[in-house]
Amino acid sequence: MTDTSVSTDSTQRRDQQEPILNVTGLKTYFFTRAGEVRAVDGVDLSLKPGEIVGLVGESGSGKSVTSMSILQLVSDPGKIVAGEVMFDGQRLDKMSKRQMRNIRGDRISMIFQQPNASLNPVFRAGEQIAEVYAAHTALKKAVRNERAVEMLEKVGIPDPASRAKAYPHELSGGMAQRVMIAMALASKPDVLIADEPTTALDVTIQAQILDLMVSMRDELGTAILLITHDLGVVAETADRVAVMYAGQIVEESPTNELFADPQHPYTQGLIGSIPMPGERRERLTVIPGRVPNLVDMPPGCRFAPRCEARIAHNLTKCTEVEPDLLQISPGRKVRCWLFEEPDPTADGAS
């Protein structure tokens, strides 16, 4: 199944383009003593050139495992048991370790939550960026260093020449994340995977980094997969959003439509449960219960045990049969029996 999302007006130009990254039927399980943990259980995801896709979910939803699976970095006891990852016409899941190393950090790069932990403490910031050029280009050392300083300037680091000589511990969290972004984008990658890039940062710094990521996308045309638990971050930056719950995507939609009119009961609950300044609600919407145990998944819809809509609509199917991701309008998909129409695409439940 290929992704058929239709973008909104602001991203019209991407319409015709083929996705640069396409994940289909991805399943990554962890084989632990407690049992088989189905961390990612049938994820389809696509990313077009220059597009920012937000992958949102709470802890344990499988969003980070999805990104690690894309990069083929799943380690024991985890295993990709099914699905394919197409990147620019090549199957990443079929590649050798060596081929994958050449792609990582060059055509697909990554930034993480803890910038200071991701930088090597014994090398200077500039050296670490220059290292990217050393690994993937044939540039001379002087040129590499020059490029590194240019990159630091590009990511908005004041006085880049002297900051290039700084060690990671001398940088603040925001600065370190800028260095990480400079490193990640040094090779002008096609895809940037950003795993909770602003979670460890203060809000005023978070705003700077998000702004920087969007402007770098505009400048370099890098597609970004933005993984986060924070719906606000997604609302600020993403073109399209996929909401994950218990290892599956439960709703996928262009950002504007998702926030204007969320469809899946989980998405609705999630949006309603975030207190926003200035709205002065007396009570927040609550999603009762908590995320199911990934070893012992409920039968039927994984959200059913916490779903109030199921009771309101008196649906019995939810606790018995697992719903498919149903197309409800161009570009919008929802995994929920509420949207089951007498329409031929909707009866494919297993």
Binding site: E58, G232, M276, P277, R283, I287
Partner: protein
């Protein structure tokens, strides 16, 4: 005129920081640098700021977990600033703390019931009374009585946070400090805990100091809000005033930096330049001036702005937006 439950005046708390190297000289971090605040009975004050602004230190100093360097703390009419550990003991039950990290705040080797009962033991309740009270508390926070016999590792983060709340409330405190009580929790669990706190606030008439970095979270529970920046209070106001008519440029920036859940409103925000300066070496004058979009007076650079009244129960510390000359009201309580 009023009889506040808590009154903090000019509180200063510094830390010596070692330089790291051998024999290298460390510095003095002024984590809390002259903070005054009052909390009326039954009121909830929100204390908001970014990491390193001193909000948690302030909370701990108020509970006398830290010894303040200067200033006074009056609780329920009594000066508790210099009370010894022994003298503090009878007051302990009246002021409680709820922690951020639900994983480190419970002893992994004690049952949940045992943790909740610890404070009751201090109060001299016998085992039967303690067990009864533990059950009441578990029910109050939405847990079951059989949970008392379980160990913390068997609970989820949200449940542990409920246990932490039960432990604090078991001793029947009149004042509660909540130090980022929901920031370690998942969004859907966060709202469960916030609603629980709201219910408890109403039901038990609690007075609270709610420390958080998230303005949205604070607004949900607080009557008044203070914004801290680098050890000092930048602005204090009622929650409505703060969101409708905040004065301090930092408050404005903080507010506009919060991502909104409406993608159509993306463009309209102020993005602050630069980093939060190190509290080891804070800027001269107004501590916000290097990042401030409106700093234009020489006094911004040279002089610390005092907290000045800018409306009813609304104070701000800014040379530009809240100049001293324009002040008709009181200068700090």
């Amino acid at each position: 005129m009023s009889d506040p439950l808590l009154e903090v005046t000019d509180l200063v708390k510094t830390y010596a920081v070692s330089g790291g190297g051998f024999r290298s000289k460390g510095g003095l971090v002024r984590a809390v640098d002259g903070v005054s605040l009052t909390i009326e009975r039954g009121e909830t004050l929100g204390l908001v700021g970014e990491s390193g602004c001193g909000k948690s230190t302030l909370g701990r100093a108020i509970l006398r977990l830290e010894d303040p360097d200067r200033g006074t703390i009056r609780f329920d009419g009594q000066d508790i600033t210099n009370l010894s550990t022994k003298e503090m003991r009878p007051l302990r039950a009246k002021m409680q703390l709820i922690f951020q990290d639900p994983f480190s705040s419970l002893d992994p080797r004690t049952t949940v019931g045992g943790s909740i009962a610890e404070g009751l033991r201090v109060q001299g309740l016998d085992p039967d009374q303690r067990a009864k009270r533990v059950n009441e508390m578990l029910e109050l926070v939405g847990l079951e009585s059989y949970h008392a016999r379980r160990f913390p590792h068997e609970f989820s983060g949200g449940q542990r946070q409920r246990v932490g709340i039960a432990r604090a409330l078991a001793v029947n405190p009149s004042f509660l400090v909540l130090d980022e009580p929901v920031s370690a929790l998942d969004v859907s669990i966060q709202s469960q805990i916030l609603n629980l706190l709201k219910d408890l606030q109403v039901e038990l008439g609690l007075t609270m100091l709610f420390i958080a970095h998230n303005l949205g979270v604070v607004e949900h529970l607080c009557d008044r809000i203070s914004v801290m920046y680098l050890g000092r209070i930048a602005e204090t106001s009622s929650r409505n005033d703060l969101f409708d008519s905040c004065v301090h440029p930092y408050t404005q920036a903080l507010m506009s930096a919060i991502p909104v859940l409406d993608p159509t409103r993306r463009k309209d925000r102020v993005i602050l330049e630069g980093d939060v300066p190190s509290p080891l070496n804070p800027p001269s004058g107004c501590r916000f001036h290097p990042r401030c979009p409106v700093a234009n007076t020489t006094s911004c650079v040279s002089e610390q702005p005092p907290l000045v009244s800018v409306g009813s129960a609304h104070e701000a510390a800014c040379h530009v937006r809240a100049p001293k000359e324009a002040d008709w009201g009181r200068v700090r309580t």
